[in-house]
């Protein structure tokens, strides 16, 4: 074997550019053809699109459940469904929306956008990325197949023991829930690790931390939050499973297990979870506002610091979900203060976005409509949030429809509205086509009106004493009209979301072809074609400002020298993003899918017997062995002189 010198290897550069370069890169980075290629792909864009489509399907399913609940609650003493069915449905709604829609879709957006925004050819750990999708899909299937088979969890998305424990959580319903959590946590943790590594080590040269787009900052903060919060719920659901399956006593009060331990662990995850869902929304809004106001976002450092502050504060609030549990009263005040303090960074962000519009020249395209809808709704949700942070008020309002109204204002207003805006905004990047404008505006207004029609009345029903999670309510409590209004609103809301999806479907087929940068935006993701090629960028861009495409309108500087015959990435330094190393990126492979199937089988079987963990370890180990098997005779690579 002859050792090749570095000069002999094909690299991009003056010798190799244009069509020839594209052809070489295409050959190196494309996925394998056909169904096999579909199964084995490790392209972050393929995986992210898959994630997004799957999450949207779960959104639709969760939405259908919501409509079913609203139908049941449309009138008092309604006999549409019994308590057993209703309890499964509201549990499935919450679980689906939180675990199968909101978190995955936000992470999928990061998986798609972050490598493009920071100018790299692939996400780090692309096989892990593929693995995470298959695991997520297995978790979602487990939950929904179980639901169809009448084994849907009926213990609430929070699954408080002892109700979810072995004695009162009859059958396997709670096990399905707990194991589904394990699936989605594994998937989310995988992605978070990838995102953090990608952001810290793969930014385009010159993209210092201070020049990162706000959305990349958000992705970094959110991923770190996932890494720190999700283990708590994984631990908790593991405890619950072992309580249920092998008779441990973590939550058995009789043997000094503690039902409140669950609540602490769960909300230590559960509260950050809310910000994990909301913060990407803030990231979307920052990008959209800047683009359509024709100026960089106002007070970028303040916005970034606000994001980081929310990420930190999120871990100090969990007890405000537990004010009624009888913990020492004085300690509550700390959590009240911490909960209220979140309003400060949120307020900073709101101010900065409006200030960006104020000092820019806002163009109210469809994504901007969603942003304005977001600001209005989110501020209202924030108001009720501040109220709920107060112990005396929370003790009255906790677990009433007031809280239902609050968190739908925050989650739909604060996360789904920006997400839909983001879909409209990046739709050309996903598909290469523009999303229809007229239908887009119509769907926004219907969704917006439907949303408030649904959830605004719930403030009253809550204040008038209607508790959450009831499958029916008696006549004569004064809740009837308000509930009917909410039900009507829910259908308007659903119509709006449906219109959005129809618009998307139509636009994929027949939308206007967009070109690389239809909005004339500043971020690197707009520097490549729409949709981007498998290798993202022919040459790695070089960045010298926070708005590269605006500051270098005519010629974006690039660097060259990456190999084109092998998947090669440029690694840069963590702080300054100076070129550091060249690193190979893995090839497509089937093993993530096999490993995910083995892991999934193990998880599912361990609902029934603890031995599944022992037996299942064999196929999992085998799949991982093949996955990590070193390539035969790695292409020789001389050390740079």
């Amino acid at each position: 074997m002859t050792v090749l010198s570095g000069k002999d290897l094909p690299r991009d550069g003056e010798m190799l550019q244009g069509v020839a370069l594209h052809a070489r890169l295409e050959a190196t980075w494309r996925r394998e053809p056909g169904f096999w290629g579909w199964l084995t792909t490790v392209d972050h864009k393929d995986v992210a699109r898959r994630y997004i489509v799957t999450a949207l399907i779960f959104l639709a399913l969760g939405g259908v459940l919501a409509l079913a609940m609203r139908l049941q609650l449309a009138k008092p003493e309604n006999a549409l469904m019994g308590p057993d069915r209703y309890n499964q449905i509201f549990t499935m709604h919450g679980t689906t929306m939180m675990f199968l829609f909101a978190v995955p879709v936000m992470e999928a957006m990061s998986v798609f956008l972050v490598p493009l925004m920071i100018g790299t050819r692939a996400i780090s750990f692309p096989r892990l990325n593929a693995f995470s999708y298959w695991v997520y899909l297995s978790g979602g299937l487990l939950l929904w197949v179980a639901f169809v088979l009448n084994v849907g969890p009926d213990v609430g998305w929070f699954a408080y023991p002892p109700l979810a424990g072995p004695e009162y959580g009859t059958g396997k319903r709670a096990d399905v829930w707990a194991q589904m959590v394990t699936f989605t946590e594994v998937a989310a943790l995988c992605i978070s690790v990838e995102i953090v590594a990608t952001i810290l080590k793969q930014r385009a040269p010159g993209m210092t931390l201070a020049r990162m787009p706000v959305f990349v900052w958000v992705s970094l903060v959110v991923s770190l939050m996932v890494i720190f919060s999700m283990p708590a719920v994984t631990l908790a659901s593991g405890f619950l499973l072992s309580d249920r399956l092998v008779g441990t006593h973590f939550f058995n009060p009789f043997e000094h297990g503690d039902a409140l331990l669950w609540q602490h662990l769960f909300w230590f995850f559960g509260h950050p979870e809310v910000y994990i869902i909301f913060l990407p929304g803030a990231g979307f809004v920052s990008e959209i506002v800047a683009t359509f106001s024709r100026r960089p976002v106002f007070a970028y450092p303040a916005v970034v610091l606000a994001v980081v502050a929310i990420g930190l504060l999120a871990f100090g609030l969990w007890v405000h979900h537990m004010f009624a549990t009888g913990l020492p009263r004085l300690g509550y005040s700390f959590f009240t203060a911490a909960s209220m303090a979140v309003a400060i960074p949120s307020g900073i962000q709101i101010f900065c976005w409006i200030a960006t519009m104020w000092s820019g020249r806002p163009r109210f395209e469809v994504p901007m409509l969603w942003v304005v809808g977001f600001i209005v709704t989110f501020v209202l949700g924030g108001i009720t949030g501040v109220m709920l942070a107060s112990v005396p008020l929370d003790l009255q309002l906790h677990d009433t429809y007031f809280v239902v109204a609050h968190f739908h204002y925050v989650l739909i207003g604060g996360a789904v509205f920006p997400l839909l805006g983001a879909f409209a905004y990046w739709f050309p990047k996903f598909t290469g086509r523009m999303m229809g404008d007229g239908l887009g505006r119509l769907s926004f207004w219907i969704t917006f009106v439907g949303f408030h029609l649904t959830f605004a009345p719930m403030h009253w029903t809550g204040v008038m004493g209607m508790p959450r999670r009831v499958y029916t309510y008696p006549v004569g409590m004064g809740w009837d009209q308000l509930n009917l209004l909410s039900t009507a609103g829910a259908f308007v809301l659903a119509t709006g979301v449906l219109l959005f999806l129809v618009n998307a479907a139509v636009s994929i087929a027949r939308g206007r072809v967009s070109g690389p940068n239809p909005w004339d935006a500043a971020g690197l993701e707009w520097a490549t074609s729409s949709p981007p090629p498998p290798y993202n960028f022919a040459h790695i861009p070089v960045v010298s400002s926070a708005s590269p495409l605006w500051d270098n309108r005519h010629h974006l500087p690039v660097m060259t020298g990456l190999r084109v015959d092998d998947r090669e990435l440029l690694l840069t330094t963590v702080m300054e993003a100076k070129p550091d190393l060249r690193e190979p990126s893995p090839e497509p492979t089937i093993w993530p899918l096999v490993a995910a199937a083995a892991t999934g089988g193990t998880f599912v079987a361990s609902i029934f017997t603890p031995w599944a963990v022992v037996i299942g370890a064999v196929p999992v180990a085998a799949a991982l062995t093949f996955w990590f098997w070193p390539k035969v005779a790695p292409t020789p690579e001389p050390v740079a002189e």
């Binding site: 197949v145 004695e167 059958g171 249920r244 008779g247 037996i615």
Partner: protein
């Protein structure tokens, strides 16, 4: 859980998903219906109602609740270990161990001390109790059984805690009036 043999468990584990798909609907049904299951009198060995109750996690959990409420646990102990009454967690059945035998035992009583519960509980409750009783000796399907109940554990006692007798002053001396 110790009664589960690895073999059996392995089988269940591998067939877990299949089981889920096959029987889940019945097993998880929260059948709160008013009527006891319809009866078919048959000379065949097993009452067809037996499976319906025994393969239902809901009925077993109801039975578990009644086991405590109807004071079964007072004689037969919480996990069926026995006491005033014979153990239920073993494979010995003085009066037959089939579901319908146990229902008969519960409803009609047995001469050596088992009281008759007919008229004190409903037939439905007796079937649910019987399903739970059989679960104590791990006879029904494993996938409908709870891992444990929220009761006292059979773990080793905690003897590490330092045990020191409590003392107070007043017991060491006689009331002053008595010191004559």
């Amino acid at each position: 859980m110790s009664s589960r043999s690895p073999n059996k468990l392995a089988r269940i584990g591998l067939a877990g998903a299949a089981l889920l798909a096959l029987g889940a609907c019945d097993r998880e049904e929260r059948d709160t219906s008013r009527q006891p299951k319809p009866e078919t009198i048959s000379l065949a060995s097993s009452d067809p109602r037996a499976k319906e109750y025994e393969n239902s996690s809901f009925h077993i959990s109801q039975g578990q609740r009644y086991y405590s409420w109807m004071n079964c646990s007072g004689c037969h102990a919480l996990a069926g270990g026995g006491g005033m009454g014979p153990p239920l967690s073993d494979d010995e059945w003085r009066y037959g161990g089939r579901m319908e035998d146990i229902v008969q035992t519960i409803l009609k009583g047995r001469p050596n001390g088992m009281p008759a519960f007919e008229g004190r509980i409903t037939e439905q409750q007796a079937w649910q109790l019987a399903a739970f009783v059989r679960s104590l000796s791990a006879q029904p399907r494993q996938d409908v059984l709870p891992g444990r109940s929220d009761d006292i554990s059979n773990a080793e006692p905690q003897t590490l805690e330092e045990r020191r007798p409590q003392q107070s002053e007043s017991n060491t001396t006689l009331p002053s009036a008595e010191k004559d």
